[in-house]
C-alpha cells in the first residue's frame, strides 16, 4: 500500500523536455554556469538524472532556483552547497571527497596499484627463468629500455 502511494506521488510528466527557453538567463556566461551547476545536481525525484536532463516539475523549479541564485551573485559552489544543505550529499552526482566517499575515490588507484603489483610479480616469475640468455648487446638494450631511456 505504502509503495503504491509513494509511486503515485512521483509525478509522471508528459511535459516539456528539460531546459525551456523561458528559464534561461540572458547573460550567456551566467547561463553556461547555470548549466554546469544543473548538470552536477541530481534530480531528487528521478532515477539517476541530473536536473539539467530531467523533465520533472521539481527539477525545473530547482533549475530556476539555481539560475536565480547565480543571477543574484552566488558562486557555483555556493549554489551546490545550498542544495546539499537541503537534500544532503544525495543531490550531488559527483560525490565530494569526504570520509564516507574516500573509498570510492581511491578505489581506481588502489585497484590499479594492486593489479600492477600482481602483474609485476607474475612478470618477475615468468622472466626469471628466461630460457635463452641475453647477449651482452641485448642485455644493454633491455637495460636501457627498462630505465626508460630512448
Amino acid at each position: 500500500m505504502r509503495m503504491g502511494l509513494i509511486a503515485m506521488m512521483t509525478a509522471i510528466s508528459l511535459g516539456a523536455l528539460a531546459v525551456e527557453p523561458s528559464e534561461r538567463l540572458a547573460d550567456p556566461a551566467l547561463e553556461s554556469r547555470a548549466r554546469e551547476v544543473s548538470k552536477a545536481l541530481r534530480c531528487v525525484v528521478c532515477q539517476n538524472e541530473s536536473i539539467d536532463d530531467s523533465n520533472a516539475e521539481l527539477a525545473k523549479d530547482m533549475r530556476i532556483l539555481v539560475r536565480d541564485r547565480i543571477n543574484a551573485g552566488d558562486s557555483n559552489q555556493a549554489v551546490l552547497d545550498y542544495m546539499v544543505e537541503r537534500y544532503g550529499d544525495f543531490v550531488l552526482l559527483k560525490p565530494r571527497v569526504m570520509p564516507t566517499t574516500i573509498a570510492l575515490w581511491v578505489a581506481p588507484a588502489v585497484l590499479l596499484a594492486l593489479g600492477l603489483l600482481v602483474l609485476i610479480r607474475t612478470m618477475r616469475r615468468r622472466a626469471m627463468a628466461e630460457p635463452t640468455a641475453l647477449s651482452s648487446d641485448e642485455a644493454l638494450k633491455l637495460k636501457r629500455l627498462m630505465d626508460g631511456a630512448p
Partner: protein, 185 residues
C-alpha cells in the same frame, strides 16, 4: 599457502557482495522503500520563508512565514490539489485539526490559488495557515522530494521529524502524536 590465498580472493569479494545484496533485499521485502530520502534537516531551524496567503481563503489571511512556526509545536504539511496521495491523507489531517492537539500549517505546493481553494472547499480545510509555494522555493528549502510530506516543528522552530508520504492514522497515533505530546510538555 600465501599463493593459494590469492585464489580465494574472488570468492571472498563475491561473498561479501552477496551479503550486502541479501540484506538489501531483506529490507525491501520488509517494505522499506528505498526511494525515500531521509531528511538532513533534523534539528535545524525551519528555513527562512515568507509565503503569500491564498487570496479569498476566509480565515488567517496572512500566509506563512518562518516566524509563524516559532512559539508553538506545529505540523508543516506540504500538499497540492494535484497530488493523489494528499487526498488519501486528507481525512487524517482533518481529524488532527479537529482534535486540537497540534496546529497543521500548510504549504500549497505548485498550485494555483483557485485549485487549492476548490480542493479545500470539497475536502475540508484543516490548515491553520497556508502559504503558497508556486515555484517550489519553500519545498526545496525543506528538502522536499514529493507531496505529501509533513514536518514536526518544535516551539523553537526547529525541525524534529519528517514524515514522507501520506500520514496514516497509525503513523499519527504511534509516531507523530507521541512526539508532539513530548515536545509540547
Amino acid at each position: 599457502m600465501r599463493g593459494r590465498l590469492v585464489f580465494l580472493l574472488p570468492l571472498a569479494i563475491v561473498g561479501a557482495l552477496m551479503l550486502v545484496f541479501g540484506k538489501r533485499l531483506l529490507d525491501v521485502g520488509r517494505g522499506e522503500d528505498l526511494r525515500i530520502l531521509p531528511t538532513v534537516l533534523l534539528d535545524t531551524p525551519v528555513p527562512d520563508m515568507a509565503l503569500d496567503a491564498i487570496p479569498g481563503r476566509g480565515r488567517n489571511p496572512d500566509g506563512l512565514t518562518d516566524e509563524d512556526l516559532r512559539g508553538e509545536v506545529a505540523l508543516v504539511n506540504i500538499w497540492g490539489s494535484w497530488c493523489v496521495a494528499c487526498l488519501a491523507e486528507h481525512p487524517v489531517l482533518n481529524e488532527i485539526a479537529k482534535s486540537g492537539v497540534v496546529p497543521v500549517q500548510g504549504i500549497a505546493w505548485r498550485d494555483s490559488p483557485a485549485a487549492s481553494l476548490g480542493w479545500l472547499a470539497k475536502h475540508g480545510d484543516p490548515y491553520a495557515r497556508i502559504g503558497q509555494d508556486p515555484k517550489s522555493r519553500a519545498a526545496i528549502a525543506f528538502g522536499v522530494t514529493g507531496a505529501p510530506e509533513t514536518f514536526v516543528v518544535d516551539r523553537q522552530g526547529v525541525i524534529r521529524y519528517k514524515h514522507t508520504g501520506p500520514i496514516s492514522p497509525e503513523a499519527w497515533e504511534r509516531t507523530i502524536k507521541p512526539l508532539v505530546m513530548e515536545l509540547s510538555k
